[in-house]
Each structure stands twice: as C-alpha cells, then as structure tokens.
Symmetry: C2
Subunit: 336 residues, 2 copies
C-alpha cells in the first residue's frame, strides 16, 4: 500500500515533467480531456496513446489495429438506479402485462412488474435477454428499433432527471473523442441486446451501430406482405455475459483489442484479456466514488459490483479512474 502510494507520487511527478516534453498528439489529448484532472490517471492515458501512435517508436501500433472496447453501463454512463435497457424493459413489461396474465407468476417478468431491482440484478444477462425475448417477440427488427427510439424520447434517468441519451459521462465522452482522433476504432460492449443500443449510440457516443457487441435474440427471416423482414423470436441467440466477453469480442471482430475500459466484475475477463496481449495496452477501471455528482459504490455494488476486478486492478497495476480524484466535471449541460 505504501509502495503503491509512493509509486503513484512518482508517476504524478513524471506527469508534471511530462507536460513539458509530450509531443503534439499528447498536447491535443491534454486539451481534449478537459474534465480530467492533471495526475497519474490522466497521464497514464496520455502516455499510452502517445506510445502507440508514435511512428517509429517501439510501441507503435498501426491505426487499423488500434481497437478499444468500452463496457457500457457504469463505464460510459451511470448504471443506477437501473441500467437503461432494464428501465426500458420494466416499462415495456408494465405496458404489456395486461395481455400476458402469466407474467405475474413467471420470472423474470414478475420481478420486472414489481420493479424488484435486486432480483433483476441477480437474474443477470439471462434475465435481461428473457425479458427482451418476451416484450418484443413477433416484432420486425425495424419495429423494435422504432419502439426503442420512441421510448428514449420520453424516458429519463429518475435520479439525474435527464434523458438517457444525455447521461454519457463527460470525461468518458472526451476520452472517446481523443481516442478516435488518435486513430482508434471504438467498440461498445453491452450485456444485453445489442439491438437495443444500436439505434442511439451513434448520436450519444459517436459509435456506429455495427460497433456494438452484445447479446441477441433469435430472428426468423420471412416475407411479410412481400417485404423480407427479420422477426424477433422469444429465444436467446447469443448470450454475452461477463466471463464470455473475450469470446464475444473475438467472435465479433477477430482481434484482441489494445485498450479496455470497464467498471465491474463483469468486465474482469475483458480487462485481463486485453492487458495480457502482446505489446502496449491500457486496462482502465472507472471507480464510482462520487455520490454527490453521480453515484458511489464498489465492492457491494448492485448492478455494478466492483470486487474481484478491483483486487485484480490493484494487483496488476491497471489504471483506476477515481471519479472524485480524477474528474472535475461529470455531465454535459442538459439539453445540449
């Protein structure tokens, strides 16, 4: 612990020195990352990007191989009081419950009707995907997309009192911009249904729909009134849970990314896999320490338990972004 603090102090000193010797790309990063306080965390990010983008340097990575993966809930935006997809599903289940009397006695629908977040959290990704299968079975892919977009227009994070599409954590939005400007291709990794996120992540995070990796329900290809459509079925197709994240990422893109960003134990294997690749890498954990501006939780968590991943990060020297120490702003002005 004392060593760790000493090491941090040294790195902080290096950061101050570094401010005078970092090249142009890093200067741009320092400028873009305005919501990040000067210190070892910000320096680690700048140093990583400088190393992999310096042509001729020992750690140079060609642009096409600069792949970064970001967990969504709790990393790019708050996941409390409930992750955005679960908020959507609870609303949909409530609206459709009169037509599905059996849901009252069938999990996870019963917990969704009761808004029992504890049980829903325990049901995990399988629970989310069972709900996705239930609330949108028979819809075409396009109809489901419209339903999501329509819901997002009115839905609000109740604690933050703003649309979910404006809940992106500002320091993380800056980080996305900085990485993109540095030639990175960014993927968002979600636990639930990728189809839920794809219609809106481009506007919110600048990430196109095809760069979302997540679970899926099975679909049936058919002609409806002569038009070929994909109809959602109430069955899970691919289930992307925590330990399966490296597989899910590899299945989708066929490469090991060089940077990974997460905030819970569900991100442990993803961070470990990326940190274990050859060459330079960045594995960063967001630590929710700011109950005033956002939320505060770690080892016990609820949706976002940060326990094993926290120990791994400390043990292996992954970068930890402590919201209170490392960030000075949390959200864009509402309505922007």
């Amino acid at each position: 612990m004392h060593c760790r603090i000493a090491a941090r102090a040294l790195t902080a000193a290096a950061a101050l020195v570094g401010a005078f010797i970092l090249p142009a790309a890093t200067a741009r990063g320092a400028d873009t990352l305005r919501s990040w306080n000067t210190g070892p965390t910000k320096f680690a990010v700048l140093q990583f990007v400088r190393d992999v983008t310096t042509a001729g340097g020992a750690d140079f990575v060609p642009p096409g191989e600069r792949i970064a993966v970001f967990s969504h809930d709790g990393t790019l935006c708050p996941e409390l009081p409930a992750p955005v997809e679960l908020a959507f599903l609870m609303d949909r289940v409530k609206a459709l419950a009169p037509k599905h009397p059996r849901w009252k006695s069938k999990e996870p629908f019963r917990s969704a009707i009761a808004k029992d977040l504890k049980r829903l959290a325990a049901a995990g990704t399988r629970g989310i995907m069972d709900l996705e299968g239930g609330v949108a079975a028979g819809m075409s892919a396009e109809e489901y997309e419209e339903t999501v977009v329509h819901w997002l227009e009115k839905a609000r994070n109740p604690r933050l009192a703003r649309p979910y599409t404006q809940c992106g954590l500002l320091p993380m939005l800056e980080l996305l911009d900085f990485l993109r400007a540095s030639g990175f291709k960014i993927y968002i990794v979600v636990r639930g249904d990728a189809a839920f996120f794809r219609p809106w992540v481009e506007n919110t995070y600048g990430v196109p729909p095809e760069q979302v990796i997540g679970s899926s329900v099975k679909t049936r290809y058919t002609l409806r009134k002569g038009t070929p459509v994909l109809i959602r079925r109430p069955e899970v197709d691919v289930l992307e849970d925590g330990p399966g994240r490296p597989q899910a990422i590899f299945r989708a893109i066929g490469r090991r990314p060089i940077a990974a960003f997460g905030n819970t134990d569900a991100d442990l294997e993803m961070l470990e896999w990326v940190a274990g690749g050859e060459g330079k890498h960045l594995a960063l954990l967001v630590h929710h320490t700011n109950g005033g501006n956002e939320f505060s939780y770690d080892r016990k968590g609820s949706f976002g338990r940060l326990d094993k991943a926290w120990d791994a990060a400390r043990k292996r020297g992954w970068t930890i972004a402590d919201m209170t120490k490392d960030w000075n702003r949390f959200f864009q002005k509402a309505g922007k």
Copy 2:
C-alpha cells in the same frame, strides 16, 4: 424473354448516353472498373453508386449507411475445384489423420481424407464447421491464425496454379476499390469459420478482419502459463448457413445493407433481403460462364449451385454479371 432482351437493349442504349452525362464520381467508377465491359451491367453499378452518393438527390444515402456485403466463395474468387477453406481443411485432416484413427470411419472426416468433394459439398456449412472444430481443437486463437497463414504461403489453387491470396477476381477487386472510394463500408460474408478468413482478407481484398461475417467455433477463455488466451473447442458456436445470412448479417452489424453481391442459391435470402429494403439498392449475381478463363457452371453447380437465385434474379430484375459478356480480364498478373 424477348421483353427482357428489349429492356437490356434499352438499358445499353441508356448506358451509351449516360457516358456523356454521368458526374465525376461515375467517371471515376468507369475508370476504376477497367475489367468491366461497357454495357448494361457496368452501367447498373455506376448508376446505383451515382444515385446513392449524389448529395441532395432523392436516393442519397449518408456514407455511414452505405454498407455492402459480398459473399466470398465464387463471388470474390473462384470456388472450384474446392473453396479455399475446404482445401485447407482437407490438408489439415490428412496431416492429422494418423493421430485420429477414428476419423477414417467418421463423417465428415472420412470424406475429407478421401477428398470426396461431392460428399463434402453435401455436408454443407455444418460439415465445414465440424472439420474446423476437429482440426484445431485445443489451439489458441493465435495458434490457429498462424496455422492458416503458414498454410496459405504454400497452398495453390490447383487449376489456376496460383496462391489463393492471388485468386481474387480482378473485376470484383476493382468493384471493392470503387465502392470504398465512394464511401462504402464493405463486409465479406463467409459460410465457414470467420477466423479462417480474417488473417488474410485485408491483404487480399482490403477488408479488415472485423468486417468478416461468418460462423464460429466455441472458445474457452483461460490462463495458459499466466497468459490469457481463447482456446478453440470442437463445438460449433454460431452456424452461418444460406437462409441464415440475413440473421447473421443483422446480428453482426444491426443494419440492412444497401448492396449485396453473391453467386449461388446460398446467397438468395441475402440478396432478397437487401433488395427488399427501403430506398435504392443493388443486388448483383455473378454468373460463372467462362470455363476458359475461370469456370463455367450454374443450375447444377457443385459448391456453387445457381438455380433458385437465378430464377429470382431474372424475375425481380436483379443485376447479373455474366463473366463472358461483362468482363474482359479475370485475374491480376501472378506474383503481383
């Protein structure tokens, strides 16, 4: 039939007129597509690209939504005497057979040992994926990739007497270039294991590994000598067969592409789905009519049976590229 020919003659006349009035983007296309003969097929491609790229035009599609999907075997390269992945698998099975005495009496390994292409074709994608599972079980993702790359260095298409990485059909390579220059994002859709294609499609077709959509085997995430790796298991994960192509594409990218290129019945649903989307689209079938320069087959085919998709193309007015009529060169000079 007569109507069809008359319509073609009219389109050909339009093409000649069009040559004088097409804007800059199309002029670039005409220049890039040098191996395509002037005529209705080339004109249909140029017209489509002009329509979706003309800002302010009724059919304009923003660059991010210009997605094109290409089937691999038989569309981007010859699939005879055997598709490249099957050639690899037959060689691997042969090399490993002494260690697996049971393969002699177990399909599809038995047919692979006997190089019985007819039976292997009948075993379809499931057969290919069973072989992929068998020949590389226990390998890490990286080891498998090395095996593929190593094999490709020496392997040759026996009829064309050139490396598989130099078997790309030149007119299709030009088409890839033209579409990319026109703001398209290109995906290659394969029947078999996406992991087989990903290590080499970027050099061969300019398509990065993450833009390959295909089947996969299950992998196991584990630490090997402290290094996190994905180990291939002898089990199919996602199976991407013909009728499932729209689902596979939608699972991977969450959108309906606006252009699709295929050559067999396995591409029927993909072409139909793309042709049935809203707005302008291009659905193109490659017709193998040139036994002298390449291969000649259609309704009976072997790996590439073009029967139902041929009828659909004729009935619905999809574009057909007849190798003999529409192309004047087939391959790049060997060794280039």
